[in-house]
Symmetry: C2
Subunit: 342 residues, 2 copies
DNA sequence: GTGAAAGCGCTAACAC
DNA sequence: GTGTTAGCGCTTTCAC
């Protein structure tokens, strides 16, 4: 058993109150002598306050909940790193929940965090069917602490959000392909109901439309933001389209797609150009360095953490939507289309 | 404020005790009627027990502390994923602490976790100077809950450990280079005091010695398990050695080294062979797919979590050291040495 | 079958 | 300056 306030009180022949007062550096009226005594014995006994008890009475735990779909995904782990760094410098810790992209786990996770009395919840990448959305929305509303959504945005949620301008990101990616003369541009999306997916889809559509290019449904392939999803989608693209370019909604799926293309001995970028999204660390070190849309995960995490800290410190403070602007990083996986074959 | 037992008791005109009994499915004597009533109203009011209060009285929080040097490193994030998956299926959550490879943060972290009443601590990759080691050792001993060390092993700690056979891993990596005819083999290590580093160094030394090769100190370069450390070490290798092969103590540093070599227009594997350690997801997708020693991060995490769960459930249970055996994955970054130049 | 009361370790209002 | 007391939300012993 750990050493408690009571132990120190007993040892020093003082009351628990006095000890608590001193140890919490309360601006108070305790004599130098007793203060020193208490400080010294606390040190000697290696006292650390029981945070469960503190949390219970203060209704504040210095704990923040972080819900993430897949911590092994580089984008999310960097996001988590940024959040942890910021929280850590404010003496707050993180409870990490990995949902595996499972909406059920997400919902359970929120309840778990509530019951653990976290001071705020940072929520990433929920992908919800319309049916789940209202459930989710009610749930979020029932959380009495600040909720910050990252990487997804539903206006009805009425909480602060940190996100990338996904629409623009997709737009510049596709525009880049169009500028290179591509007209048959397939895309590998994420799950249909994810707002990130929807926003990127909008950007893709906008760029195509502006260029007067057709938008055949059959050029859009539904992935899952995971490598094998990208690999599978690429197979389908090869079978059912004559695309000369692929826009993958994230880098990890782009890598999966690269593997498929390699398997079929299709050259990137000579036969097919490919552009990703996220700019994860390794995208520049691939066999063919990947052209991609930069998304500053660490900074997004930091900003989300800062907003959470703000809302914890000043409960009434205004909700904000913080949007990061993307930029394109052109590497070797995209190339001007050779010549119009027909 | 959340709904409490008291709220339910009031609503149902029953006592807090009865409500608690029912909600905890205690094998008890409550009439069907009251039981149903309680269950129903709890459901209606969306009751979730306050885990702080539960933890305080039960001295068990269903929380496990995880201390990791760098969650953005693929090896550690996969480790975390394995741990989380296993814990999650036992209704336990994780408090994640990122130390940034900083021994001070590690020590503070352990105290933080203690004061939060975690049921166990899983501790990865501590790299400690002899001076810090005794401090650390005392600290670990002062923790009254199970501690599982992962990816580092100090016999004096007297707690369960899960690890890779690092010595063998390094041995087979270097042996592979030797079999390919290399004799000038540089290595990029981790921080000096890390036991993982020491063990891999032993394996390196053993393989060299067995082959009757010299072991010049100046062929060993101290890295930090990070990309830029690998890049820097490779610069030094180029300047001060005539190595034809590099054994990097992890993949991330190997990638840094690859970048340096590329910058200097040195071909891998034609001019220099390179072998890494970890087999992180991307190592097979690099410009030159990396030969590396496989380390099953997810499984190691799972196993660590299982051992933690065992020790939580059965406090007296025997401590164990679980060792995973490595194997070499040969890809394109290593090649037989062309010809002896002299 | 059900409830009262004590106590987990702490903070904070109030008394002295 | 210092101590008493109540209470945070829960479990658990014991009494009825």
């Amino acid at each position: 058993m750990s050493v408690t306030l009571k132990d120190i009180a007993r040892k020093t022949n003082l009351s628990v109150t006095t000890v608590s007062l001193v140890l919490n550096k309360k601006p108070c009226r305790v004599s130098e002598n007793t203060r020193d005594l208490i400080l010294k014995t606390a040190e000697e006994m290696n006292y650390y306050p029981n945070q469960l008890a503190v949390g219970l009475v203060k209704q504040q735990t210095n704990t923040v909940g972080l819900i993430i779909p897949d911590i092994s995904n580089h984008f999310y782990s960097n996001l988590a790193l940024g959040i942890d760094a910021e929280m850590n410098s404010h003496n707050k810790n993180i409870i990490l929940l990995n949902t595996d992209f499972d909406a059920g786990k997400l919902v359970r996770g929120i309840n778990v965090l509530k019951s653990r009395g976290v001071d705020a919840i940072i929520l990433t990448a929920a992908s919800l069917s319309p049916k789940n959305l209202s459930l989710y929305s009610d749930l979020i509303r029932s959380v009495s602490v600040p909720v910050i959504t990252v990487d997804h945005y539903y206006p009805e949620l009425n909480c602060s959000a940190v996100q990338l301008n996904n629409r623009k990101g997709a737009y510049i990616a596709v525009k880049h392909l169009i500028n290179y003369g591509h007209t048959d541009i397939a895309c590998i999306t994420g799950p249909k109901h994810s707002t990130v997916t929807l926003e990127r889809l909008e950007g893709y559509r906008l760029a195509m439309k502006e260029a007067g290019l057709p938008l055949p449904e059959k050029y859009m392939f539904c992935g899952n933001y995971r490598q094998e999803g990208g690999a599978k989608a690429a197979e389908e693209i090869l079978q059912s389209t004559k695309a000369t370019a692929i826009f993958s909604f994230n880098d990890v799926m782009a890598m999966g797609a690269c593997q498929t293309l390699k398997k079929h001995s299709i050259s990137i970028p000579d036969d097919i150009s490919i552009v990703g999204f996220d700019n994860i660390d390794f995208s520049g070190m691939l066999a063919v360095p990947l052209t991609t849309v930069n998304q500053p995960a660490y900074e997004i995490g930091q900003e989300a953490a800062r907003q959470a800290l703000q809302e914890i410190a000043h409960p009434g403070v205004e909700k904000r939507t913080i949007t990061f602007e993307p930029h394109l990083i052109i590497r070797d996986s995209t190339k001007a289309r050779a010549a119009v074959k027909d």
